[in-house]
Each structure stands twice: as C-alpha cells, then as structure tokens.
Amino acid sequence: MRKSNSFKVPEKYFENIDVEILEKLKFKKNVFTFPQNYFENIDSEKIIEKERSRSFYRNLLITSTVTTCLMILLILNTFTDNEFVDETFLVNDILEENFDYMNQNIIINRYSSNYIYQNYDNQIIMSNFDSDFDYLTID
C-alpha cells in the first residue's frame, strides 16, 4: 500500500492554497466578455436623443394632464346646480330690505340669471339683459 505522504508538498502549501486561488482569480479578471464592438457601439448621441424624447413625452404628459384636469373642473363647474332664489322669498326680502340684492347675480330659476331688480313703489321689476330684455314684474 502506498503511503499517503509519499508525495511531498511545499511547506504550508495547504494553508495557503485558498490565497493562491484568489490571487489567480484576481489576475483573471476578465471572465465577463461582451459582444464584439460593444463598446464602440455605445453611442452617447442615442442616450441624449432618448433623454430628449423622454423629456418631450414627459412634458406632453404633464401638459395634457393639467389640461384634462382644467377641463374636468370647468365641466363640473358648468353643470353644478346653481342655487336659485325662490321668487316669493326674493320679493319679500327686497320689500322688507332684509337683503341687499343690488349688484348680485340673482338666479330665479334654473334657466335664467343676471336679473337686475328695480323697486318702484313696491312693484319689483326684474330685468334680464342676457335674454333679450326679459322683464318680470312682481306686484
């Protein structure tokens, strides 16, 4: 039977084998390869172009989002039910001077607005200049 120690190894060979392997690997750093002409084909122009188109689309997105939001707000505002004033209460209020309607947009029904009132001896004349001189007289 052959003795296990028939081959001699340098002193502390096994203690240092891991260090040697690491050193060997360190010198062989380029285990990672890449396609031919890869680095030559990295083009800064493409990167700049990409960034510019990205900025363009980002700005476009921001603009369209803001526009959409504004449109939604406008639509909501247009279709929000306006509070309108009941005619009887209005006349009473004016007559009793409970509330000064002068310079106010008075809406007395859903389809009319901007009534200006005049008070002639307890006769209220409401005129709407938006709709062809529409007069409403309340005694």
Partner: protein, 192 residues
C-alpha cells in the same frame, strides 16, 4: 457649521464638469464622459448583475440618469465616485425589480444567475470562476459590494465609504468578513 466636504478633483475633471454643467457644451462633454467611463461602469455593473443583456440595460439607464442629473452633482466627491454610486443604486434596484417581477427570493434569483453563467456565451470562466461568483453572490449585500469594490476595482476604503455611505471602520470589518468567508468556502469546496 455647514462645511463643504473637500475632495481632490483634478483640473481635468473640473474642466469636464464645467462643460457638463453648461448647456452649450453639455452634449460634447457628455460624449467625452461616456467614452472615458463606459468600460469601468460596464464592469462594475456586470459584476453585480453577471449577465451582459441586463448590464447593457442598466448601463443605458445609468448614463441617462447622469445626463439628467449632472446639474445636481454637488462636487462633494469625485465624479467617478458619484457615477459609481448611481451605477450601484441602479443595479440594486434592477435586481429588486427582477425579484418582484418573477416572485423570486434573493437566494433563488442568485442561484439562477449563477447557473445561467454556465450557458452564457459572454462568460469566459471555468468551474472555479463560477464557484467564486456563486460564493460572492451569496454574501450579504454590503460585504459583497465592499469585496467587489476592493478586490476587483482596487478602490480605497475612503472612496467606498463615499459610495456606500458607511464608515471606513465598518467597511474594513465587512471586507475582512467577506474575505474570510470566501477563503473558507473555497477551501471547503476544493477537491484534490
């Protein structure tokens, strides 16, 4: 007191930075920067991601980020350190997004990445290299990064500290631990 950190930036780097921050000369300076740094950045990313295609994607994103945010660079570190940090963050984010996308745990993902090296046409290592990559990949994140930056890129602990935002003392400990783990694993796996 708010003191600006002083770093030794070469005159050449200062001049390049000035041109990068000037909108008129930015594109030309960027072209120069890409040419100077593409190989270094590529291999820094590649060591974390292992595969060429992923590295290429991340490299493009890194350069996009650099182009976009060069104005925000405060010059508190070297330009290369700042770029390295962007590359490191982008690579880590890419790995995290991959984990999420494929519902992988970190361990499964790293095992897959290591196994894929065997069929990778752009990997020129033997079994020992694959084993080393496997051991490095399974190190805790900080130890892995410190080991790679020190071992492959020969960065100084001070530079690594600027990139990772960790104290030099903690980095030295991490490097020591990583080195010992790798030595131990290599010795255990070595067959004679």
């Amino acid at each position: 007191m708010n003191r600006k950190k002083s770093v030794l930036i070469s005159a050449q780097e200062k001049e390049l930075l000035q041109r990068l921050k000037n909108s008129k000369s930015k594109d030309n300076a960027f072209r120069e920067l890409v040419n100077q740094s593409k190989k270094n950045l590529y291999f820094q990313i590649r060591r974390l991601l292992l595969n060429h295609e992923d590295t290429n994607d991340v490299l493009q994103n890194v350069y996009l980020k650099i182009y976009r945010s060069i104005q925000k660079f405060k010059e508190e570190s070297k330009l290369s350190t700042w770029m390295y940090r962007i590359a490191y963050n982008e690579s880590i984010n890419y790995l995290k997004s991959k984990e999420k996308k494929y519902f992988f745990s970190s361990e499964i993902m790293y095992n897959t990445m290591i196994n894929n090296l065997r069929q990778d046409p752009y990997f020129d290592g033997d079994e020992l290299d694959i084993k080393l990559q496997g051991i490095i990949a399974k190190l805790p994140p900080k130890q892995k990064l410190v080991f790679q930056m020190k071992y492959y890129d020969d960065l100084k602990f001070k530079e690594i500290s600027q990139i990772l935002g960790t104290s030099v003392g903690a980095l030295k400990t991490s490097y020591h631990l990583a080195k010992n783990k790798i030595k131990k694993e290599i010795s255990e796996n070595q067959t004679f």
